[in-house]
C-alpha cells in the first residue's frame, strides 16, 4: 500500500482497519512536491505537498483562497505539517462506529466497513454510511478541479466530482493501483469560492458539515454556481437545487434563502459523527447562507 503523510493510514493501521504487509512511501517522489502554473493560468499542485505548504503557497492564497482556507482548517498545525493534499483528497471515510479500536469494534460485533456484516448507523441498510470527511475535497468539487491519476496503464485526468462515490466503503472511483499524483486548479476567471467548516473545536476536529460554494459572476449577476456539502454523506454532495436557486440572481437575501432551503432538504447526515444529526442538518441552512453571504460581500467590496 502507498502512503504519503501517513496521518490517515497509520492510525487506521494501529487500529487494524487496514493491515498492509508493506507500505511504500511516496514522499520522496520530487514531482509530487511541485507547484506549477501553466500557460492558461491553471495551477498544478503535486499531491505530496503538505497541507501547510498548500495553505501557505503564494499562488494558492492569491488565486485559490478557498483551497488555502480549507487546507488550513484540516486538523492541527502539527498534522498539516505531515498530511498531504493528496492524502486529504483520498481520506478514508469516517464513522464513529468504525474509527475505534479493534477491541471496541469487537464489542459491537464489528461493522461492514471492516470485519463485520452490518452498518450500525443504519442497520437495515445494505450499504455503509461512513462519512466523507475531507475539508479540501468539497472545495475541489466546487471549483471544478481535476485530479491526475497515474496507474500501470498510464495516466488519466478526472474531474474531482467524479472521483468521489456515494458509498462508505467504495468511496473513491480510483482504481486500486492508481496514485493521485497532482491536482489541477482551474484558472480563477470571474468566479469566487469559499469554504465554511462546522465542528466542535477550532482544531483537531473533522468537519461535521462542510460547505464549499463557488459563484461565477457577470457584473452583479450570478451566471453559474456550485454548492457542495461535505461531512454529511459518503461523498462530496453537490446540491443542484441550491445552485439553481441562485443562478440569475444578484445573490440577494431571497435567493440565498431559497438556496439554503434547497440545500437543507437533501442534506441527510447520519448519527455517526460528533453532534446530533438534526442539528447538523439544520446547520446546512445556516452555513450555506453564510457561505453565499460571504461571497456576496466580497463581490460588493
Amino acid at each position: 500500500m502507498y502512503v504519503a503523510g501517513g496521518t490517515d493510514l497509520y492510525p487506521n493501521m494501529k487500529r487494524l482497519h487496514q493491515t498492509p504487509k508493506t507500505v511504500v512511501s511516496l514522499l520522496r517522489v520530487p514531482e509530487m512536491h511541485e507547484v506549477t502554473t501553466d500557460e492558461t493560468g491553471a495551477i498544478r499542485l503535486g499531491s505530496g505537498l503538505t497541507l501547510t505548504e498548500v495553505s501557505e503557497h503564494k499562488d494558492v492564497v492569491t488565486g485559490h483562497l478557498a483551497v488555502a482556507q480549507a487546507a488550513r482548517l484540516v486538523s492541527t498545525p502539527l498534522l498539516r505539517n505531515m498530511g498531504t493534499i493528496g492524502g486529504n483528497l483520498c481520506l478514508d471515510t469516517r464513522c464513529n462506529y468504525y474509527n475505534q479500536s479493534y477491541e471496541w469494534r469487537k464489542s459491537i460485533d464489528f461493522c461492514m466497513k471492516k470485519d463485520g456484516a452490518i452498518c450500525w448507523v443504519a442497520p437495515s441498510s445494505p450499504r455503509c454510511w461512513a462519512v466523507q470527511s475531507s475539508d479540501v475535497a468539497p472545495v475541489m468539487v466546487a471549483i471544478g478541479a481535476e485530479y491526475v491519476l497515474v496507474g500501470p496503464n498510464g495516466g488519466r485526468t478526472v474531474p474531482a466530482e467524479s472521483f468521489y462515490h456515494d458509498d462508505g466503503i467504495e468511496y473513491l472511483t480510483r482504481e486500486r493501483d492508481e496514485i493521485l499524483t497532482a491536482v489541477k486548479l482551474p484558472k480563477p476567471n470571474g468566479w469566487d469560492a469559499t469554504y465554511l467548516k462546522l465542528r466542535r473545536r477550532g482544531s483537531f476536529d473533522f468537519p461535521v458539515l462542510g460547505v464549499a460554494a463557488k459563484i461565477t459572476w457577470e457584473g452583479n449577476k450570478v451566471t453559474a454556481a456550485r454548492i457542495v456539502l461535505g461531512g454529511v454523506a459518503s461523498y462530496t454532495q453537490r446540491v443542484p437545487e441550491a445552485e439553481t436557486a441562485v443562478v440569475g440572481s444578484t445573490l440577494n437575501d431571497e435567493s440565498i434563502s431559497r438556496a439554503a432551503n434547497a440545500a437543507f432538504k437533501p442534506s441527510k447526515p447520519m448519527d455517526n459523527t460528533d453532534f446530533g444529526l438534526a442539528w447538523r442538518k439544520e446547520m446546512t441552512r445556516v452555513y450555506v447562507s453564510r457561505a453565499l453571504l460571504e461571497l456576496r460581500e466580497r463581490r460588493r467590496s
Binding site: 479500536s101 477491541e103 471496541w104 466542535r200 473545536r201 483537531f204 446530533g276 438534526a278 442539528w279 445556516v286
Partner: protein, 817 residues
Amino acid sequence: MANSRESNLRVIGKPQRKIDATAKVTGATKFADDLYRPRMLWARLLRSPHPHARILRIDTARAESLAGVHAVLTGKDLPEPFGILPVSQDEHALVPETVRFIGDPVAAVAAASEEIANTATRLIDVEYELLKPITSIEDAIANPEPRIHEYSDDGNLHKVINLEFGDVARALDAAHAVRTERYFFEGNTHLPMEQHAALAEASADGKLTLWSATQTPHYVHRALAKVLAMPASRIRVIACPNGGGFGGKSDPFSHEIVVAKFALITGRPIKITLTREEVFQCHRGRHPVLMEVTTGVTKDGRIKGLYFKTALDGGGYGSYGVASTYYTGALQTTTYAIDNYKFQGARAFTNKAPCGPKRGHGTPQPRFGLEVQLDRIAEDLSIDPAELRLNNLAPPNTVTANYLSIGSMHLGDCIRKVVEGSEWKQRYGKLPTGRGLGLACSSYISGAGLPIYWNNMPHSGVQLKCDRSGGVTVFCGSTDIGQGSDSILAYIVAEVLGIDPIDIRVVTADTDLTPVDLGSYSSRVTLMSGNAALQAAENARSVISKAVAGELEIATARVSFAEGRVFDAQDPNNGVAFAKAVQLAEASFGTVGTVGSYTPPKSPGRYRGAGVGPSPAYSYSAAVVEVEVDPDTGIVRVPTVWIGHDIGQSINPTTVMGQVEGSVYMGLGEALMEEMTYRGNRNVVHKIPSMLEYKSPTTLEMCDVVTYLVGSPDPNGPFGAKEVGQGPLLPIMPAVANAVYDAVGVRVDEVPITPEKVLKGLKDKQRGGSGRVGPKSFPEINWGELTQVPPPWDGGDGKALPQEVSASGTTHPERQH
C-alpha cells in the same frame, strides 16, 4: 491583604520557580512509562467486550503457547477483592465471575514485548453468558435485577441517603416563594495527558517494588498487601510524578496489581502502559447526576429552606461512590446560610465504567443546580444576582446546619472583585442580545476531615533531615501530580529555616522512604503536608536555635533565621551561616532530624454521613463569565472569565494562578463540550473513547482569565493557606449557564451546554415556549428511613434524633466516609 507583594515573609507569598521546573522543561522528569529496567517484560490486559456477562470459561492455552509469552493470569489467580473504600471492596484485579462494564479486565499476559502481549490477549478465548445490561439511573431503579452487586442498599441502587437538618417542610410553607427545578449534569472524565502506567519488580528475598502513575501510593500500598496477601512492610510503592491526575489516578487499579503479581511470578521487572481507550475505561470520573432542587425564600431573597435531591449514575463499581453521593449534598451550606436543609441522594450501579472523584468530587453537579436556581430566584424577586448572594453569605466562624465548621470566609470579597472587574453593574442584563454575563459562586474543602479508612493516625507526616553541609532534606509521602506539592514542602521549610528553597531536597511518595501522606486528593496536600512540614521545620528551628543561642550567648528567643544565616535578631551581624548552625546543633544534640505530622480537627457532626464534608478550611470562589451566543447556531463562545478566589494565603501566588486558570479551563470544557457518553442501545459501548472525539478545549476555545486572589490567612492552614486546585472549577459551569440566559433568555439546565440545546431553547422561545431545556422529571426513589439532625441553633449536638425502629429493620452498617 495577604496576597499582595508586601509582607514580612521571605519565601511564602512570593513567586517562585517550582523545584522540579527545570526537570520538566528539559524532559528529564521520569514519568512511570519513562522507566525501563534490565530484562523488563511487558503486560497487557484482556478486557471484557460485554457490559454485563458471566464468565463461563476462559481458555488461555493458545496465549500461553505463543512464543515470547511468560505468564498468563486470570481471576482465579487474584481472588481477593479490593476497593478504595472499606465499604466498597467490590473490585477484583481480574474478574473471577461477572463482568460489569466494557473494559472490565478478565485476563492478563506477561510477554517479552508489548506487541507479543497484545497479540496474546487476542488468543485468550473467553466464553460468556450475557446478562441484561443496566444502562441508566432510571433503568437501575426500574430493574433491581439482574443485580450488578449483591451488597447494594436496594436492588441496583448502591447507596441511598436520606438526611434532614431542621424542618424543611415548615420552612417552605413559611417562605415567600418556593421554586422546584430539575437539573442534569452529564458525566465527564479527567483525561490526563499521561496514560496510566506501572512497573513492578520483585527480588529473590520476597520484596516487591511498584512504580506507578498514582495519586495515592498509600492506598495502592494497602491494596497490594491485601490482594497479594503479603506483609505491607515488604512492598514498596513509589508514585512517579503524575502526568496529570485530576482524581483519575486516585483508586488502586487492576493493572497495578497485575504487574505486581507478574513480577512475583516471573522474577522479572514488568511494565504496563494503558492505551488511551483503557484510560477511559479506568475512568472514575464525574458522575452523571440528576437533581431536583426546591428552594423557599423570603421576599428579600433570603434562603429559608433547601430540599436537594440527587441521583447518581455510578457505573459498575463502588470506587469512591459512597463519598461522592454524600458530597452531592454536603457543601451547599458552606457558601450560603441555610437554616433548614434536606438532602436525599442515591447512587445507581450501571454497566458502565465506574465513576469516582474528579476535580470537585461530587460537588460541581449540585453547585450547578444551586447556582442556576439562585439566578432564577434573583430574577423572580428582581434582585441583582450578586446582591442576592451577598445577602445570603454563610458567616465566617460558624457551624452550618449539617455541622460543617466554617473558618475564614471571604466569598463576599470574591463576589465584589469579579463584579467590579467585569463591570457587572453596568453590563449585566444590559448587553445586546447574543451577549451576556453570568455569575456563580462556590466553596471547596482543603482536605477531608476524615481518612478513607478509619484510624486515629495523622493524615500527613514529614521527616526533616538537616545535614552538616547545610543541605536540608524533606521526606513526605505526598505525591506531586503537577500541582506543585513537592515545591510547597520546600517553600515552607525554606521560610522557617531562612534558607533558599533550592537548598532543600524533597523526597516524596515512596512508601519505603517517606512517612505516610494519604494522597493527592480532596485538595488536602498543601494544608496537611504543609502543616506537617511546618511543624517539622519549627522543631528543627527550635533545636538549632538552642545550639546557636548557646554559641552566641543570647536567649533562644532572640535567634533568627534568614538568608542562609542564623543570628541574633537584635544584632544581625552576630550570627553564623546556616551550615555552621546545623553543625553546632549536631555537636550538642546529635544528628539533626525532626518530624512533623498533621491531623485535622474533629468535626462537630456525629450523625451517619457526617464524615463527608468536614474540612480544616474551606476555599471560596466567585466567577463572572461573559458569553457570546450565535442565535442561528446556538454556538456559545466565552471570551472572558473573571474569577475571585479566597486562597487564605498564597504559598506561591504564581502557581496558585496556574491552578485557578487550569480550573477555569477544565470548567469551561465541562460547561461547553466534555461528556462521557455511551450508546445504551449498542451494547453500552463508550461512544467516544479517544482524544479526538472526547472534546477537550484547545487553545482556540480557551478564554481570557482575570484572576483575583483574595482572603486572609486561615488559622488552620500553613501560613494561612487554603486550597486552590479544585474550588475555582466549580462556579464556571453555572456561570456559563446563567450567562447564556442573560444573552438569549434560554435556560439550559443541563451540562454540557451544547449548541444543540441552546438552539432548541431558542426555537422553543420563538414558538412561545419558555425556552427551557433540561430534565422534566426526577425518578421515584424509595429513600428509606429519614435521618433527622437538629441544627446547632435548634439545640442540636451533632447527633441524629433516635430513629424509630422500622418494620423491615433494614439498616446499612457502614463506617463514616
